[in-house]
């Protein structure tokens, strides 16, 4: 009984710690994203700590609830979005650390948790009673059902390859070591499809139709202000880091300490030296930086916003086909045809 209480206490304390890390990392990477985007557009850009200031400012501002809104739903939406993003974080391996909730949830759960912030955003938009927000909510839902197809194809391919949906088992061995050349080509196609899914998941250009400042005046968020908008802001940045960490877990779960001889390839975390852990954490943060740079900043600068029907075609057409061809290659290799 005492052991169980201690175990639960440690787990919940770690969940709190990971939630705090998720928020801080999210805001820090958001600063990086804004800075690097500005530099690519020949602007100076805001300082790296600007997102922290933005949140502070939003929390000080008035929180206006329009008369046309359904207040409880309008206020609950940002909290729901943040909660889903934070819970998802606890199921992911972070650098050398195993998922806190290892054994209590899998990739299917993560996919559902990934969908909840988008649903919460649409819910909040519809609850605000604004025509702009309503159009934004429609677009958000259309976008969600569009990118879910290549995402589901990727999840099924991983489950097929590893015979499990467990994220810890999938990330325990890099996918590239489990397949031959044909299978690797398949997973490269899956990776390409998922890179295209990333801006859609995060509502970034070219898939920011739900917000679309120039058309819908922030769409979903048009009526949001103050602490409600601040919570949505935090939820968005946490989700960004979560998606990046999921990429690392699926495709690049490498640890640098193994390569430079600080730790053996099968040494458990408890036996690793402090330097090995620090090196692996730093390497994880670097990988996250690269993934956010490619999946968010670079794509955002390089492309213009799609029309919503073209965004749907993009995911259900080319990206779904690329994903399915990738799956086919993996299946072909595994069946030995």
């Amino acid at each position: 009984m005492v052991d169980a209480v201690v175990e639960w206490s440690i787990m919940l304390a770690l969940v709190l710690l990971v939630s705090a890390i998720g928020i801080i990392l999210g805001l820090a990477y958001k600063g990086f994203d804004r800075k690097i985007t500005a530099m690519m557009q020949s602007r100076i850009g805001p300082p790296l700590r600007q997102p922290f200031r933005d949140v502070k400012k939003l929390f000080m501002k008035e929180t206006i609830i329009p008369d046309s809104a359904v207040p409880w739903l309008f206020n609950a939406a940002p909290i729901l979005a943040l909660v889903a993003s934070l819970v998802a974080f606890a199921y992911l391996p972070l650098g050398p650390f195993e998922p806190i909730m290892e054994g209590y949830g899998d990739l299917i759960l993560l996919l559902y948790l990934l969908a909840i912030p988008a649903v919460a955003m649409a819910m909040g938009g519809l609850a605000s009673g604004s025509p702009y927000a309503t159009v934004g909510a429609q677009r958000e839902l259309v976008l969600m059902i569009s990118y879910e197809l290549p995402l589901a194809v990727a999840a099924v391919t991983f489950a097929y390859n590893y015979n499990t949906f467990s994220i810890a088992e999938i990330s325990s061995q890099p996918v590239w070591n489990t397949v031959g050349i044909v299978g690797a080509m398949g997973f490269i196609l899956i990776l390409a499809a998922l890179v295209a899914v990333m801006p859609g998941e995060l509502s970034k250009v070219p898939f920011d139709q739900a917000e679309a400042e120039t058309e819908l005046a922030e769409g979903l968020f048009v009526e949001y202000s103050g602490r409600n908008l601040g919570i949505f802001y935090i939820a968005e940045v946490v989700k960004m880091v979560f998606v990046g960490a999921l990429f690392i877990a699926l495709f690049f779960p490498y640890q640098l300490s193994n390569f430079i001889g600080l730790a053996g390839p099968t040494v458990p975390l408890i036996e690793m030296g402090l330097w090995a852990v620090l090196v692996d954490v730093a390497f994880f943060l670097f990988k996250l930086l690269i993934i956010i740079y490619i999946g968010v900043s670079l794509i955002r600068v390089a492309f213009a916003r799609f029309q919503i029907d073209r965004a749907n075609y993009f995911y259900w057409g080319p990206m779904a086909i690329i994903g399915l061809v990738g799956t086919l290659l993996v299946v072909l290799e595994n069946t030995g045809i």
Binding site: E62, G103, S130, Y132, R227
Partner: protein
């Protein structure tokens, strides 16, 4: 045969962690400023600077209009489906025969 392990699930742990994070999110939320100055227009929803109607509930988009956005955005998906629904019994029977053929071929190959 695909044999995927699906044993990694604990709804109770999930709910506990969910509730914990609800507390975290609510604590953050409660740190914000909950108030705003009530003025004549402060509760008006934004409609590009136009004056909102006296009954703001009229601004709510009705259900059938709401669905218009989906139909428009998913046009490429809906159009072939609508074309397939001709209302002729013969066409529907052809669909049944085709589906049956696919199922039988699958059963023949797999079972």
């Amino acid at each position: 045969m695909i044999d995927i392990v699906l044993e990694n699930w604990s709804p109770i742990v999930f709910i506990v962690v969910l509730l914990l994070n609800v507390l975290v999110a609510y604590w953050l939320y409660s740190m914000g400023n909950p108030e705003y100055k009530k003025t004549k227009y402060s509760g008006d929803p934004f409609i590009s600077g136009n004056r909102s109607p006296k009954d703001v509930k009229k601004l709510h988009v009705a259900g059938d209009n709401l669905f218009w956005g989906f139909k428009k955005a998913l046009k490429r998906y809906y159009d072939p489906l609508i074309d397939g629904h001709t209302g002729r019994l013969n066409d529907y029977m052809i669909w049944v025969v085709i589906t049956l053929a696919v199922v039988l071929i699958y059963l023949y190959l797999v079972v």
